[in-house]
């Protein structure tokens, strides 16, 4: 029994080393999109999205992509850390990192560990401290949710700024195109006796 658990856990740990964690994913990214994208670098054996339980906010998706072997996973992680990889949209790149054990919802129990649980009553000596920890945990949760909110705001700000830049650029592009297409350029060229060479 023990050795069976061991074996199961070892297999799981091996799986972790083969897995890439991705976030900053657009909601448009689906399992098949991920598979197509990552099959360029190796072969994908499994894809799993990580559900987000805590906040009702619409935040980017995160996923675990399991590759055929640890080497492929490593390769992908180092490449994507150095280059900017786009999925289902741009210019916000996806972010990758090696997967860690805690990311897997279905992870098996670590052999040799056993979590005990018990109810503490009000008169238990530990009750006060436990209560404090609970309160602290709640405060931490609030802090995190505040931080997340700020981050989302920052992201939105950046996105808006970039959208503006893009708008201006495309306007300029349109202007140039128009100048070329409506004959203004050739008129000017004639006026100043210059030659236009077709690109």
């Amino acid at each position: 029994m023990e050795s069976k658990d061991d074996g199961e856990y070892a297999a799981f740990e091996e799986k972790v080393t083969r897995t890439v964690f991705l976030d900053n994913l657009s909601p448009q990214v689906t399992e098949s999109v991920l598979k197509t994208a990552f099959n360029q670098f190796g072969s994908v054996t499994n894809v799993q999205f990580i559900p987000y339980y805590i906040e009702p906010l619409n935040i980017p998706l995160a996923a675990l992509v399991e590759m055929e072997n640890p080497k492929q996973a490593k390769q992908i992680i180092s490449e994507m850390a150095n280059f900017l990889f786009m999925m289902s949209g741009m210019p916000r790149p996806v972010r990758v990192s090696p997967a860690v054990v805690e990311m897997f919802e279905d992870r098996p129990r670590k052999p040799g560990t056993k979590i005990e649980s018990r109810w503490l009553n009000q008169n238990d000596p530990h009750f006060v401290v436990a209560k404090k920890i609970k309160n602290l945990t709640r405060r931490h949760a609030a802090e995190r949710s505040f931080m997340l909110k700020r981050q989302l705001e920052d992201e939105e700000k950046l996105a808006n700024q970039q959208a503006e830049t893009l708008r201006v650029n495309s306007k300029k592009l349109k202007l140039i195109n128009n100048v070329l297409s409506d004959g203004t350029v050739s008129q000017l060229a004639r006026r100043y006796k210059m030659k236009i060479t077709e690109p």
């Binding site: 448009q28 339980y53 005990e116 401290v129």
Partner: protein, 513 residues
């Protein structure tokens, strides 16, 4: 102010024929107010200091007939859940204000501060007793928003035993009183509550549910109902059961309506909904709180989810047959109580042993599984003799969640000796996908055919960004932001972990000491 003798004796009305009864109420129709249908039932007597108050034994409000000692849901201000109470008196004042006297039931959650380690049934409530604040109130009649099926399962000799079927159909059960004088829970029932014989608060004698279609000729309404009276004397109120089958509503099983009420339109804290289907169904079923003046009930409402606005008093649950069609049969969906609570667990509990955790701890989940099932097992063992399958309805799963939460809050569930479990209500997840993603830009229109083609391709495939593009430049900005966010999360994690560890040390020191 009102005499307390007034309400007890009903036989006079019970012996009235349907015909007589309707004509009488027909006369009363002149008093109808608003758009909401209202009629007083049997006029009983006139009282009050100036003889200007009329007491009644029953009334019809929005198609439902209420009798004295019926249990009802009441809206109080902006509360998320309706209160439950028993009608003990109803009257009309000289200025034609309609009032009711209500003796309250308490939900366990409302009096949790006074409940030590009390074992609770899933849908248990407590009858108020004693004297003082919280026992009873005068309320405007319009605050009533529906009947509530409450069954007494006390073994008190004075209480007619309820059948298993009754209990299964019940929205709530009670067998204990909560004394508002000294805030104590008791299984004993005093002889009088709020000046009424306690028998009135127990189940009705010869409790039967007969629905006989009796055609009553009336101008605009067809009502099927029957008044059953038992001739049990002793000054005990005659057991009177009136089932009112409104033709418009008859397509909706009463049970479902009640479930919808009980699950209550609370968007911000949707707790249960273990399975997505469950949540959806609930969303559909409890969505419509519509001003009843405006909407024809039999029409198909747009089922636009749950409105965020808390329903004010005068609104009432509306269920359209269409909505109910989508509502899954509760009994089929949820095969056993245990599985049921476990389902609810998914969304209720949240592991926060160490805030660093990204996902839910498997171990925690399992322990909770076990714990939750233990909770249920313990309960069902204790109550098996009295109750059969009380936990089978969605309406109660909400209470189950509530119960588990309050237990988690009140005392501590420790994991591995150092990690207390923190419970929180689940948040509704948006099943619909977002079409827009912050940080992904689209060029609105581009007349240049060739370029548009390129953009299209660029969007639809995954690729590495090329260094000579504007995309690359912008992506770099994003990468910078991502790195920054990594830094601040790391800093926060570190700080929080430190705080937790400091506290945990105290725990260990105490243990060693």
């Amino acid at each position: 102010m009102c005499s307390s003798v007034a309400c007890n004796v009903l036989p006079s009305s019970a012996s009235t024929t349907d015909q007589g009864y309707t004509t009488m109420s027909h006369l009363m129709e002149a008093k109808k107010e608003d758009d909401i249908e209202f009629r007083w039932g049997c006029n009983k007597r006139i009282g009050g200091p100036n003889k200007d108050i009329q007491f009644f034994d029953s009334f019809t409000y929005d198609g439902v007939e209420y009798y004295v000692y019926d249990c009802v849901y009441m809206w109080r201000g902006n509360e998320a859940e309706p209160d439950i109470g028993k009608l003990v008196k109803m009257w009309e004042t000289a200025s034609h204000k309609k009032r009711v006297n209500i003796v309250w039931f308490f939900r366990p959650i409302e009096v949790r501060n006074w409940l030590e380690d009390v074992e609770l049934l899933e849908n248990e409530i407590f009858l108020a007793s004693g004297e003082g604040k919280g026992l009873l109130n005068h309320n405007p009649l319009e605050a009533i928003c529906g009947k509530c099926n409450v069954v007494c399962i006390s073994k008190d000799k004075r209480n007619p035993l309820a059948s298993g079927e009754d209990i299964r159909m019940a929205d709530y059960v009670f067998y204990r009183t909560f004394d508002v004088t000294n805030c104590r829970l008791s299984e004993r029932f005093p002889d009088r509550i709020a000046g009424k014989e306690v028998e009135n608060f127990f189940n009705r004698r010869k409790y039967q549910k007969l629905i006989t279609q009796t055609e009553v000729k009336e101008n605009f309404k067809e009502r099927a109902g029957k008044i059953i009276s038992s001739s049990k004397a002793e000054g005990v109120a005659a057991a009177t059961t009136v089932r009112d089958v409104d033709p418009k509503r008859s397509s909706i099983p009463e049970k479902e309506r009640k479930i919808a009420v009980a699950s209550s339109p609370n968007t911000m804290i949707r707790k249960t909904g273990g399975s997505i289907e469950g949540t959806e169904a609930r969303k559909i079923s409890c969505d419509q709180w519509v001003d009843r003046g405006k909407v024809d009930r039999s029409e198909d409402h747009s089922s636009a989810g749950v409105s965020d606005v808390r329903p004010p008093k005068k609104r009432k649950l509306q269920s359209s047959p269409d909505d109910n069609a989508k509502f899954p049969d509760p009994a089929q969906k949820l095969p056993d109580p245990k599985g049921h609570l476990l389902d609810a667990k998914d969304s209720v509990f949240e592991k926060r042993g160490l805030p660093k955790g990204v996902s839910f701890g498997e171990t925690t989940g399992k322990v909770l599984d076990k714990r939750a099932s233990e909770l249920v097992q313990k309960k069902s063992v204790k109550t098996e003799s009295q109750i059969v399958e009380v936990t089978q309805r969605p309406a109660t799963s909400r209470d189950a969640a509530e119960f588990a939460l309050s237990k988690l809050n009140k005392i501590c569930l420790m994991l591995g000796g150092v990690r207390p479990v923190v419970g929180r209500k689940g948040t509704p997840r948006n099943p619909g996908k977002l079409s827009k993603f912050v940080g992904h830009l689209v060029i609105e229109k581009n007349r240049n055919q060739r370029q548009r083609e390129e953009v299209k391709n660029a969007v639809s495939t995954s690729h590495y960004s090329q260094a000579n593009t504007i995309e690359y430049e912008m992506a770099t900005e994003w990468r910078a932001l991502q790195e920054k966010s990594n830094l601040w999360w790391d800093a926060l994690n570190e700080k929080q972990a430190e705080e937790i560890i400091t506290l945990r040390r105290q725990l260990k020191i105490r243990r060693n000491a």
